[in-house]
């Protein structure tokens, strides 16, 4: 499959300007992407954003209208799925219902004419790795959802693919099982060192499992980065909004102080933003702050209002208890509704609807927002 001219340091996957249209719909729009060997890479986006189509082009089920797909440096754009060193875990598992678990997992090896005793050994090993050892003789249609998921994973991994493609493999499982499988998948990936390309619409899943995440919308790859950079430095509004919840403000600058732009309303409310030198009084800025970075202090306990940071006064409208976290909807005079999220501890119970509070956040907690335009996608 790989030719002799394979260079070291080839990325496992390289997509160059890949475009796929279905009729007049552009499902994947000029995507360029490199995935490194051993990486856990997630494609994250809402349904219909093109992430599954992109995955299917990697598997060979769809052929790009434009651009090229390279697998370990080899151009596989037009190579049939059965001739590619990729394997896929399907959304609904798609086990062969007329076969036993063992025969499902052994299928790929039988096609490769691997000797019988080696097949037996490798299948049983792989069933152990994915945690369904001993189920080999069970019929594939007599398994629970979680077991089917594991068998589908074993059936793909046993072929030792250059890249494992996973199409929302956990979406059909219940929440508890999903959380457990997320960690297990991650540890299996880590111990086998296989490159994973993982498609999901669940931002939490993508952030917790991946080495890097690519955010897609309307067929375009908007941003690629490590989970932390995606979450903390989103390049545009769509990414910021899709990954986590967001407070999104438009402020009018009243004065500048070096790099800082300040907006004040005369009632003691003040917003300070790192804006750079080009900012002038009178400019409008769009900024965003994550709810968990916003602090609330009961107005009665407010120590010193003379600090130079952000400070808004507001009144708590609603308290939403979410288990480990509690969300507060605060009505502020200057910015309208602000959402704050705190850990549900003793202190959190003191803030009740109707309470007058001071709303604050660190200056570096806010980031500027650009419009929905995609940015050039770098590979790191």
């Amino acid at each position: 499959m790989t030719d002799g001219s394979r260079r070291p340091f080839q990325p496992a996957i390289l997509l160059e300007g890949v475009t796929k249209r279905f009729g007049s719909v552009v499902a994947v729009d000029n995507v360029t992407l490199a995935v490194e060997e051993g990486e856990f890479f997630s494609l994250l986006g809402p349904s219909g954003c093109g992430k599954t189509t992109l995955l299917r082009m990697l598997a060979g089920f769809e052929t790009p209208d434009d651009g090229s797909v390279y697998l370990r440096g080899e151009d596989v754009t037009l190579v049939q799925p059965n001739k590619r060193a990729t394997n896929m875990v399907f959304q609904n598992y798609e086990l062969f219902p007329h076969m036993t678990v063992f025969n499902n997992v052994a299928y790929g090896l039988k096609l490769k004419k691997v000797p019988r005793n080696e097949i037996g050994q490798r299948v049983n090993e792989m069933l152990e790795v994915v945690g369904v050892g001993g189920l080999g003789t069970r019929a594939a249609d007599q398994l629970s959802g979680g077991q089917q998921q594991r068998v589908a994973l074993a059936r793909a991994l046993i072929n030792r693919p250059a890249v494992l493609l996973l199409d929302e493999p956990l979406s059909a499982l219940d929440v508890k099982l999903r959380k457990r499988m997320q960690l297990e998948l991650k540890s299996i990936q880590h111990s086998l060192g296989t490159t994973f390309v993982y498609v999901t619409h669940d931002q939490e899943e993508a952030l917790l499992m991946s080495d890097r995440v690519g955010i897609m919308d309307h067929g375009r790859l908007l941003q690629i980065g490590a989970p932390r950079s995606i979450y903390e430095q989103p390049r545009n509004e769509f990414v910021a909004d899709f990954v986590g919840t967001l407070n999104d403000f438009a402020i009018t600058v009243t004065r500048t102080d070096g790099d800082l732009a300040v907006a004040e309303n005369g009632d003691g409310d003040r917003i300070v933003v790192m804006a750079g030198h080009s900012c002038r009084a009178g400019d409008t800025l769009r900024i965003a702050v994550r709810p968990e970075r916003i602090l609330l202090t009961p107005r009665a306990e407010e120590a010193d209002s003379g600090q130079p940071g952000n400070r808004l006064s507001g009144r708590v409208q609603d308290v939403i208890y979410m288990g480990p976290f509690t969300q507060y909807l605060v009505d502020t005079g200057m910015l309208g509704r602000v959402v704050s999220q705190r850990v549900s501890n003793e202190e959190a119970t003191l803030i009740t609807p109707g309470l007058e509070v001071a709303v604050t956040w660190a200056v570096d907690a806010a980031f500027p927002l650009s419009d929905r335009d995609p940015v050039e996608a770098p590979t790191t």
């Binding site: 059965n82 896929m88 399907f90 798609e94 007329h98 790929g108 096609l111 793909a156």
Partner: protein
């Protein structure tokens, strides 16, 4: 009907301990009555128009023939005649052979046809399915005369070949031959083969084929190792349809075959329509029916074993 049967088990168990048990039993009873009512039109039709005449035929097979008039009696001589007349045995064996060959041909055409219909032309499959059904609308006799005009001396094939200068005289053995019988029957039987296989393929997810392709299977291998076993129920039904339809065939050989291309059905028709030996014809028909049943059973259980 099936639903009500399968649901009865757990319902009963629950009804024993629950306070609403009696209500559930009443619902259960009503459901059973409803199931029988739903079966009534079909079973009445089947009884009056199939089972009753069949019983008449069975009785007739034991009658005695007096001056071309079947007289009620209970004699086994008709059956003895069936089994000892060499032409019956010869026609019977030939019919089975023809039915077997046609079944294989029809399955070899129908399976790829159903596959393409269901998996390749997925968006337009309803229309194509309808077009296949349309070929059944044409009618039996119309189809046979269509083949006559294709294969005859002045037919499309001979005229074309003569026009192209490939032959000088029309080929005679196109018509009134086993080839003509077979061609016409295959044409008639293909929809009967495609329908059940296509229906069975509805339950096969296209993604299962992709899974097999992804694991290294070629298209043909995936069709054979994944789609074929998963639609075996339809293939079995198609086999039974085609095989049994051919065994009972007599019009096509009469109109398209030569004197040596008759099937067992023609012999039955001979007894009823020409020699007027009805009890003899009835005995042959009954024997053929039993033989068909045995053959269908053997073939279907063989296929079951092959796909396990």
């Amino acid at each position: 009907m099936i639903e009500s049967v399968t649901r009865r088990g757990p319902r009963r168990k629950r009804s024993r301990r629950g306070t609403s048990g009696e209500v559930l039993v009443a619902i259960d009873r009503r459901r059973r009555v409803a199931a029988w009512l739903q079966l009534f039109p079909g079973s009445a039709y089947f009884t009056l128009l199939f089972l009753v005449p069949l019983a008449g035929l069975l009785a007739m097979s034991f009658f005695r023939l007096v001056d071309f008039d079947p007289v009620p009696a209970f004699v086994l001589s008709n059956y003895a005649e069936v089994l000892t007349t060499s032409i019956h045995v010869r026609l019977g064996l030939r019919t089975i052979q023809v039915a077997g060959i046609l079944t294989v041909i029809v399955l070899l055409v129908s399976f790829p046809c159903a596959y393409v219909l269901n998996f390749v032309f997925r968006a337009k499959r309803q229309l194509l399915y309808f077009l296949i059904l349309v070929s059944l609308f044409g009618g039996y006799i119309v189809r046979i005369y269509a083949w006559r005009s294709i294969l005859g001396r002045q037919g499309v094939i001979n005229q074309t070949l003569i026009g192209m200068g490939i032959i000088e005289e029309p080929i005679r053995y196109l018509l009134n031959s086993m080839f003509a019988v077979g061609a016409s029957l295959v044409n008639f039987l293909i929809p009967l083969g495609v329908l059940p296989i296509y229906a069975a393929m509805q339950n096969v997810s296209p993604h299962v084929i992709e899974a097999a392709r992804d694991l290294g299977a070629s298209r043909i291998r995936a069709a054979r190792q994944i789609v074929l076993p998963l639609s075996m129920r339809g293939v079995r039904a198609a086999t039974a349809f085609v095989f049994i339809a051919t065994l009972g065939e007599w019009v096509t050989p009469r109109l398209l075959g030569g004197t040596k291309d008759l099937l067992i059905g023609n012999r039955i028709e001979f007894y009823f329509g020409q020699s007027l030996e009805w009890p003899q014809g009835a005995a042959l028909a009954m024997t053929l029916m039993v033989a068909m049943g045995v053959f269908a059973y053997i073939i279907i259980s063989l296929m079951k074993r092959l796909t396990r």
